[in-house]
Amino acid sequence: MEILKTYKLYIGGQFPRTESGRSYAVVSPSGQHLANACQGSKKDVRNAVQAARKAQGSWAGKSAFNRSQIIYRIAEMLEARKGQFLEELQALGSDLKSATQEVESSIDRCVYYAGWADKFQTLLGSVNPVASSHFNFSVPEAMGVVGVVACQQTALLGFISQVLPALIGGNTVVVIANQKSPLCAITLAEVLATSDVPGGVVNILTGEVSEMLPTLSAHMDVNALSIAPIEAKLQQKAQEEAIDNLKRVRIFAEPLYAESAQGLPYISDFQEIKTTWHPVEQIAGGAGGY
């Protein structure tokens, strides 16, 4: 007998059903009913943001090296579950070749961002010349909770390309998954839950973007938005609603599944630069440093 999987949400390290009790059918391009997914609601968004906020401090507080190890661990777990992702991608309409390529690129991207964990600070930070007796330096800091509307063209690679750079910089995320093809995102949640990513660092919601995005973009406890190409009207509404607490909104025009959609800018998008003026003693006659 074939046992079909129940796809649920991923919030705070748990797999709850949506608070609203609703579901929707996920169908393949040929119209075949693949699974039912949760149709998330406003309250699920609220719960997810709460979980993300709770997890943020300790996630940002981990050493860069440790975060690197954890992201690398995701790559290891993805590798082990490759078969499952291939099946899901093919069910959603990819051919074997492009499915294989998507999974392999995703794994590569994990390893790539794992490497960045202890390096981007050096590149984004600086020691600044000032004309007074201060040691003045700037360092990047995580913004906090980042709301993500995942890539709607790909089921896996786009998701990874948006989430990892935010994560490696110490942010926690609430992701609204690909609406039509949310299956890989939830399978990825299982990967995250069994790798060493602490509960609440990544939270994944499935359902209608148009229903959940307004709540996410208006939420005062969300610090930034990362939005993959979606309907222009929705984008604009999100930007308007983000104003109240001055969320940074990054809207990606480029395809996030492209080979080139990785790099330092994707990390710095969700970093805040903090500059510190540290008084230094000026010994009489001593030359100023910077």
Binding site: V45, R46, V49, R53, A218, H219, M220, D221, D244, N245
Partner: protein, 307 residues
């Protein structure tokens, strides 16, 4: 009649304390918790809960500055929202009563002082008396005393009774809240018994916990205490106040507590004269919920004061 029962009289009074049906209690609570309060009723509930808070700081590291800060917060909960009520009282240690009294001025907010060697109550009676007098001399409007749980658990009811009655006598016009520390009392039967005892000894309010011990104000404990208040009222027509303290940190819990009071005791108790929440972090959660109701947007702790 209050405060001078002899040992046999007290024993026969306590023999009347009913034993509590735990399963029934839990059933009733489940039903109360299943209700949902929305819209205008929720707004009213949030405002009511705010007005019932005893804003509390009871830490070894309390300083006059911290207490002044708390008193400011008590008067300015969230100035962005118009027409908010103030909290009912500020609850502090006896040494901070003078500071709080001065900081609150004529705002109408009461100063409550914990007393009788809070939180353990392990001090000679003379010391407890001095502790209480010190708070009263400095202007405390309300005294939150702890009972001697050790004596109660070992069956020395007369001792506990006399102690409460003696402190009540010292209080004169100040209202006396009696803290049971239900987390140390093991069973609901004991909670009911000590409620009856404290009410007989002259408590104006009965209060669950110090906030220093877990579990604190659980629903079964509060429901049991409300039952004692109700029975006393039915018998004598005298109202006794209730103050759950410790562990009520979210609006949802606070609203459920209000539902329970309304259901058990009725509307008469829905004011800060007869019902209080002992809490420190609850206020901010209520304010965040209130703001959410006003704006339709989920709020962030970053925009509300750190107490």
């Amino acid at each position: 009649m209050l405060g001078n029962l002899s040992t046999p009289e007290l024993s026969s009074l306590l023999a009347l304390s009913p034993s509590i049906d735990q399963i029934g209690t839990n059933e009733r609570i489940t039903r109360i918790q299943a209700r949902s309060i929305k819209g205008a009723a929720k707004m009213q509930g949030l405002r009511m809960a705010l007005s019932m808070i005893d804003l509390t700081t009871l830490e070894g590291k309390d300083t006059p500055a911290k207490v002044r800060q708390l008193c400011f917060k008590a008067q300015h909960l969230h100035d962005q929202a118009a027409d908010l009520p103030t909290v009912a009282a500020v609850c502090v240690y006896p040494t901070m009563v003078g500071v709080a009294k001065k900081a609150l001025g004529n705002s109408g907010i009461k100063v409550a002082s914990v007393s009788t060697a809070f939180p353990s109550g392990q001090a000679p009676f003379e010391v407890k008396k001095l502790d209480t007098l010190y708070a009263l001399d400095n202007g405390a409007d309300e005294i939150d005393m702890v009972v001697s749980r050790g004596r109660f658990l070992s069956g020395d009811y007369q001792f506990v009774y006399d102690e409460i009655a003696a402190i009540k006598e010292l209080c004169s016009t100040a209202r006396l809240k009696v803290i049971f520390e239900t987390g140390e009392l093991d069973s609901l039967d004991q909670v009911r018994k000590i409620s009856d005892l404290a009410i007989a000894a002259g408590a104006d309010f009965i209060k669950t916990s110090t906030g220093k011990i877990q579990p604190a104000a659980t629903f079964p404990v509060v429901l049991t205490m409300l039952g004692a208040i109700k029975d006393h009222f039915d018998k004598t027509g005298q109202m006794i106040g209730m103050k759950p303290a410790g562990g009520i940190s979210s609006s949802k819990l606070a609203l459920q507590h209000l539902l329970m009071v309304k259901e058990v005791l009725g509307e008469a108790w829905l004011s800060n004269e007869w019902y209080r929440f002992g809490a420190s972090s609850l206020a901010n959660d209520l304010l965040m919920q209130y703001q959410k109701q006003l704006t339709g947007k989920y709020q962030s702790a970053a925009y509300f004061s750190i107490d």
